[in-house]
């Protein structure tokens, strides 16, 4: 039940894109087409789970015993950057189909702040290993849900008559506001 609570809170109630406002650059950048948003979601789910596992282990077994917690910002970002490179090489060799689906989004993900934020938040909330795994899966599922829904809306919006000054990004922001309003409806669900 506790794990379900963590998952649900990360997935809907504190949706990383619409409520927490993390990783918005990618939210607006890759959501113009459904294909690209699906590719990005796959890459996020994959990288986020692995990198939060690795950064949890590094923090608790390398940084904490030596009282080097103040190095965590530098350590995590370098870990994630090198991890992304490793994953890219590995996937190219072993799972070329998935690699093609993710395409150019895999290298781009180093600058996706969601990955780094989840690594930090899992430490700040004092999660144990299993909890932080469930948390990162919940966050990445929430990310995928929001960005794919948003891409569907934006594809429709391309055909709609929109006032001249609002074309492009302004109307995208207004749309995001309405989606965010809908996600606020999940607040306090199950007493979370």
């Amino acid at each position: 039940m506790e794990l379900f609570g963590i998952f649900f809170a990360a997935f809907l109630i504190n949706n990383i894109l619409l409520i927490r406002f993390i990783a918005l650059c990618s939210f607006f950048g890759v959501s113009t087409k459904i294909d690209t948003s699906v590719g990005m979601s796959l890459a996020v789910i994959f990288v986020m789970t692995i990198s939060s596992a690795v950064s949890w282990v590094i923090f608790h077994f390398v940084l904490a015993p030596f009282h080097l917690e103040f190095l965590r910002t530098a350590t995590f970002i370098l870990t994630i950057a090198s991890l992304v490179q490793l994953e890219e090489l590995y996937m190219k060799k072993t799972i070329p189909a998935l690699y093609r689906a993710m395409g150019i989004y895999l290298p781009l993900i180093t600058t996706n702040c969601a990955i780094l934020a989840v690594a930090f938040l899992a430490i700040d909330y004092r999660f144990n290993f299993v909890q932080s795994m469930v948390y990162s899966i919940g966050v990445s599922a929430g990310y995928s849900l929001a960005i794919v829904l948003f891409a569907y809306i934006r594809e429709r919006m391309a055909l709609a008559p929109i006032p001249k000054w609002f074309q492009g990004y302004p109307i995208a922001f207004i749309t995001a506001a309405l989606m965010s309003l809908a996600f606020l409806g999940f607040t306090n669900m199950f007493g979370l």
Partner: protein, 186 residues
């Protein structure tokens, strides 16, 4: 500052803008933190640009930036605990803020120290301008106050402005207004 405004024009560095702009004080302190990191890292990158090998410049930039981010994180934690709590994870996240790495790569790495410093100042002013104006608008409409000073009693229905959706609405309308303004100038 306005034409190449990092937030409203170039669409970079968005996350902190939306997240911490629910009142003017948070917005201002976030801009100060970003300005500190941006100016210092521009300065250091410009100073060491001759001795940095081209192939590994990005990791080196990241280490320089994260040093300054850690400094500002810990200074804030030591002297402004409440603020540190309000800004939360967004202070360490300055390290992946595209504005800072972007300026290091696009400007400081190619230019001497003084002009990189000035570039840092100009970019941070543009960032602060966008962030603080969004913060002021949201706080004024949502809570009826500016920088914590109560001006009128808030309308209950307008509380939405300090909740997450308000950020999206404000920035969307600001951008549309900027589009219109620019069109008129031309």
């Amino acid at each position: 500052m306005i034409r190449e405004n990092p937030v409203l024009r170039l669409m970079i560095g968005l996350c902190p803008v939306l997240a911490v702009s629910n009142n003017a004080v948070n917005a201002l302190s976030m801009s100060v933190a970003v300005a500190f990191v941006l100016i210092c890292s521009n300065f250091v990158v410009a100073a060491i640009r001759k001795i940095v090998p081209d192939e590994i410049r990005i990791p080196i930039f990241i280490i320089v930036i994260s040093t300054f981010v850690t400094i500002s994180d810990y200074v804030m934690y030591a002297y402004f605990q409440e603020l540190h709590h309000a800004l939360g994870v967004f202070v360490p996240l300055i390290v992946v803020n595209c504005i800072i790495l972007g300026r290091a790569e696009a400007f400081a790495y190619r230019n001497p120290v003084l002009s990189s410093l000035l570039d840092g100042v100009g970019m941070s002013l543009g960032f602060a301008l966008a962030l603080v104006s969004i913060g002021v608008i949201r706080e004024l409409l949502g809570a009826g106050s500016v920088f914590g000073i109560q001006l009128f009693s808030p309308v209950v229905a307008a509380t939405i402005m300090i909740l997450p959706p308000g950020a999206f609405i404000t920035i969307g309308i600001l951008m549309a207004a900027l589009n219109k303004f620019e069109n008129k100038v031309q």
